[in-house]
């Protein structure tokens, strides 16, 4: 018995505590999404009288001519296009910064640091977007997301590219493969492990982004998924079941990403990032 306790004792404490602290809120989301509006206002962990999840999902999707469906389409476009651009433009730039030291690269390092630390100037950004006729447009928001994600991804790509032997691209350059062709044919195929990290972290961040769509893409037609939550909060003050059904729906994409990439996220983020 003693031996058994020593071996498993910690687990008997850690698993229930871990589940209680980290899983209980998700259980509450799920339970509330299955209730009718009166029960949902009790805010408790009791099972519903009648399991109404499908009915609630239907109601949420039909609300206001399908604002949630439009938001899912908008968020999908925003996330896919932004992440694709981030992967291409930041790995290209990081390749040059990693290989060509000089004044421009020193300047770029400072800019990367600034991009990580400096909070974006919101109203002046709107002013710039208006001048370019990009305010309240999807392309405008896409450019914003790319600009804000660039610093972090360039940093990660640069670290990874620095570990690729220079001889590989020197040999290719010798054969006349330079510039974009060198990047596209030789370097990009080697970036797959770090691409996964960037794609996962950036897509989750952009899909969950609330602040930037709030400022730069206002309006019901343009709503992204995070903004629909406020729609349910204000329009249906008492309908917590619908609000939590919406929360449940927008948690599904990150959940899928999590299930597929769980191990890779952790290993990719930590590979070489904080070596003592």
């Amino acid at each position: 018995m003693k031996k058994f306790l020593r071996k498993y004792g910690l687990d008997f404490v850690a698993i229930p505590v871990g589940l209680f602290v980290f899983a209980a809120p998700f259980i509450l989301i799920f339970l509330t999404a299955t209730k009718n509006s009166k029960e949902s206002y009790q805010f408790n962990f009791q099972l519903p009288e009648k399991f109404l999840l499908w009915e609630n999902i239907k109601t949420v999707l039909q609300t206001s001519d399908g604002v949630v469906i439009r938001a899912f389409i908008n968020s999908t476009i925003l996330t896919v296009v932004s992440v694709t651009l981030v992967v291409i433009v930041s790995s290209m730039a990081a390749f040059v910064f990693a290989r060509r030291p000089g004044k421009l690269t020193t300047f770029a390092n400072i800019m990367v640091l600034a991009g990580l630390v400096v909070p974006p100037a919101v109203v002046p950004t709107i002013w710039v977007l208006q001048r370019l006729h990009l305010f309240k447009t999807m392309p405008g928001l896409i450019f914003i997301e790319v600009a804000y994600s660039a610093a972090f991804s360039i940093l990660i790509y640069k670290g990874f590219i620095a570990s690729i032997p220079r001889e590989i691209d020197e040999a290719a350059a010798m054969d006349g493969c330079t510039g974009f062709a060198l990047y596209r044919r030789i370097i990009f195929p080697l970036l797959m492990p770090v691409n996964v990290t960037i794609i996962v972290t950036t897509s989750v961040a952009i899909f969950n982004d609330f602040t930037n769509p709030l400022y730069f893409l206002p309006g019901n037609d343009n709503a992204t998924v995070q903004l629909t939550l406020f729609y349910f909060q204000s329009a249906y003050l008492t309908q917590y079941n619908l609000l939590f059904t919406d929360i449940l729906l927008i948690t599904i994409p990150p959940l899928i990403v999590f299930i597929i990439f769980n191990r890779k996220i952790v290993s990719g983020l930590t590979a070489g990032s904080v070596k003592g």
Binding site: F22, P124, V128, L229, V257, V274
Partner: protein
Amino acid sequence: MSKAKQKKIENPYSYALVAPIGIIFTIFFVIPTIVSFFFSMTRWTLFDWEFVGFENFVQYFKEASLAIGFKNTLIYGVVTSGLKVVFGLALAILLTGRLRAKGFLRSVVYFPVLVSTIGVGFTFSILMDPNYGAINKGIVAFGKTIGWETYGPGWLVDPNLLPLSSVAFVDVWKGVGIATVLYMAGLASIPQEYYEALAVDGGGAWDKFRNITLPLVRPATAAVVILSFIGGLRSFDLIWAMTNGGPGFLSDVIASINYKQYQAGFYGLATAGNVILLFFVLAIIGPVYWFFNKKEKQA
């Protein structure tokens, strides 16, 4: 072939590859930041501006509903990054130890990182509801069993520092997974021989932690503290979802005040708030960064 042209061909790492992100970053990040210094000194309607000097900044420091942002932003940043260090390190030690369910618990701790901040905010708002929330119901039930008459605290509605602290606590709950992962990597890079040597000399668990683990995870601590500060000082969405800056403006931080000014159409004032936030972040990140760099060089 001319000499200039030859030189161009020789360097295979063409600057043209930097151009796309260079242009996007300049137009949508650098230019707005630069013009923000000018517009922070104007009364501004986006179409028209009137120069007012430092009036916006003076107003920011003078008005109680604006000046509270400094105190709250600082408290929020310090509390979140401090707790992320403590809980992140504790969880990392636990999850790299002799636990059987390590893999499972790592996933459980990391998952909230990937979930919508607004969704998490709303969920905790109902958990922290003063009358119906599960947390206070638990406290009341617990109070009854030990004969203690209580209603439980007003987590998000009390007129003191509690609402801000409650939001900070949820921020830690959601973000501690990142700190844990960074610390796990830091722990993995400590050579096992150090611990073995200490065991030979008869050192206990506390000696191990104090003399080996803590000094050698310093790079991870630096990463956790700096990342948490960068996120915490700018934090807006969680506070907005949980308290709206309330009750009144008691839990407002600089970022939420700026949004309120923007909503009210005070674009010059909102931009001044942005500039203030910029200097505020630099004033805190700068010394923190310097502190960790200095210590690392000594070690």
